[in-house]
């Protein structure tokens, strides 16, 4: 039972760990940015589009949300090259993350769009805005602000999902931790450190998001 904690292996690998953390954050941000574009377009199509577009969006969201991201990542990384679609593991995972996040963000943006108050829509109509004009100039700006808390939560879970990239050998934090684990056998220290780094990063992101929300007045 005499297990003496010794963090020297973790501290020696701190550079790699922080580098991996940075890579995870970068992939998370890239996934969030591209996923937001997908989400906004899909939400607009769902709320303002014709029926076939609505059905397509619903199928996309239902399909992705019920599918493990690991299966999507493995499919994209190992099966798509058969069709000549071949990217590095980092690019592949970021793209998968974007498609995955897109489905969740579609829901966030859609919820924000359909809760825009009716009075605002009436006002838009009274100044002569219709269809596209109303969607882009009235509903979208309000929805973007009101979706902010939900986008933030999505980003946090997206950042946590970047750990799954370790399975396709992307050298992000979890991959680095596992490597140090296998080299040093300091099993307790390395996983405590891993958990601490993720929890601390998530907490910092959450604090930054609260600041951001306070910065933009809620509609």
């Amino acid at each position: 039972m005499g297990y003496a904690l010794d963090f020297s292996a973790v501290l020696r690998g701190l550079d790699q760990l922080l580098w991996g953390l940075g890579l995870g954050l970068t992939m998370g941000l890239a996934g969030l940015a591209a996923g937001s574009v997908i989400g906004i377009i899909a939400a607009l199509a769902h709320v303002f589009g014709p029926r076939p577009a609505q059905t397509m969006v619903r199928l996309y969201v239902g399909f992705i949300r019920n599918m493990p991201i690991l299966v999507l990542a493995l499919f994209a990384y190992f099966a798509l090259p058969q069709f000549g679609i071949r990217f590095s593991n980092i690019t592949t995972f970021a793209a998968v993350l974007a498609i995955y996040a897109g489905a969740y963000l579609t829901e966030s943006f859609r919820a924000a769009m359909i809760t825009v108050p009716h009075g605002v829509l009436d006002a838009a109509r009274s100044i002569g805005l219709t269809g596209t004009g109303m969607a882009l100039h009235v509903v979208l700006p309000i929805a973007l602000r009101n979706a902010l808390p939900s986008i933030g939560n999505n980003f946090i879970s997206l950042f946590k999902d970047t750990s799954i990239a370790a399975v396709i050998a992307v050298p992000e934090l979890t991959f680095q931790v596992r490597k140090i684990n296998n080299e040093s056998f300091r099993v307790i220290e390395v996983w405590l450190a891993a958990s601490f780094l993720y929890v601390a990063t998530c907490a910092l992101i959450a604090i930054a998001l609260r600041r951001l929300e306070a910065w933009f007045p809620k509609f």
């Binding site: 039972m1 297990y3 399909f63 949300r65 019920n66 599918m67 493990p68 991201i69 690991l70 299966v71 999507l72 493995l74 499919f75 190992f78 099966a79 058969q82 946590k160 999902d161 970047t162 750990s163 799954i164 370790a166 399975v167 979890t174 931790v177 596992r178 684990n181 056998f185 300091r186 099993v187 307790i188 390395v190 996983w191 891993a194 958990s195 993720y198 929890v199 998530c202 907490a203």
Partner: protein
């Protein structure tokens, strides 16, 4: 080169076995997670500072850690104190803790959302805390968290695919083994994806049916 159907015929037994392990491990994780989550939820809401603080710590740490890291931690860490749970035990434990933390947090929200007039009315009737909990608070909270419970179950099924990383022979690892032998990469990953989709759609549909069935009129 064998055709996809030939490979499927010869490996259907293994695939079915993997599917069963996925379903079983998810079911165990959700069941344990609900029981443990109820404890967390009660501790967070009614525990007072002494009980709620450690519960808060556990819940926040688990919720801030990626599931894959939880799974790997549960798999590797016990070796440090001389224990060696198999991958299945470690993985099921990790999923159950993950599930419990999420349910604990939603349950806390549900308890807090019940108007305090309900507890006042219960104590006016002379109900003890246990009776208030059993007859007044829990039935309302369960209805409140039902949609969340279904979502969590779907998340657990999805997260169970990560157990392939520690060598649990569930659906995804079985699929990977079949692909390793047959090189039918596209077909079998698509099949695995379709099976996960099917499990989750059953859960979602069943959950929606239960919600309708027990809706207050």
């Amino acid at each position: 080169m064998q055709s996809f159907l030939d490979v499927l015929a010869s490996s259907s037994g293994a695939l079915l076995n993997g599917l069963m392990i996925t379903i079983a491990v998810s079911a165990i994780a959700v069941a344990t997670g609900i029981a443990l989550g109820a404890v967390f939820g009660l501790a967070l809401t009614y525990g007072g500072a002494v009980v709620s603080f450690p519960a808060r710590m556990v819940v926040d740490i688990v919720r801030g850690t990626p599931v894959l890291v939880l799974i790997l931690a549960c798999f590797y860490m016990p070796a440090g104190i001389g224990l060696s749970p198999g991958p299945l035990t470690a993985g099921a434990f990790a999923l159950a803790v993950f599930c419990a933390a999420h349910i604990g947090e939603t349950l806390r929200g549900a308890f807090l959302a019940i108007p305090s007039a309900q507890t006042d009315a219960a104590s006016a009737l002379g109900l003890t805390f246990g009776q208030t909990l059993g007859y007044v608070l829990v039935p309302q909270a369960v209805r409140q968290i039902a949609p969340n419970l279904v979502n969590t179950a779907v998340e657990i099924v999805k997260a169970s695919s990560l157990l392939s990383a520690i060598g649990v022979g569930e659906l995804l690892l079985t699929t990977q083994e079949i692909i390793g032998r047959s090189f039918k990469t596209m077909e079998f990953y698509a099949l695995a994806g379709g099976l996960y989709l099917a499990i989750n759609l059953v859960i979602a549909t069943g959950g929606a049916w239960l919600e309708r069935r027990y809706r207050l009129r």
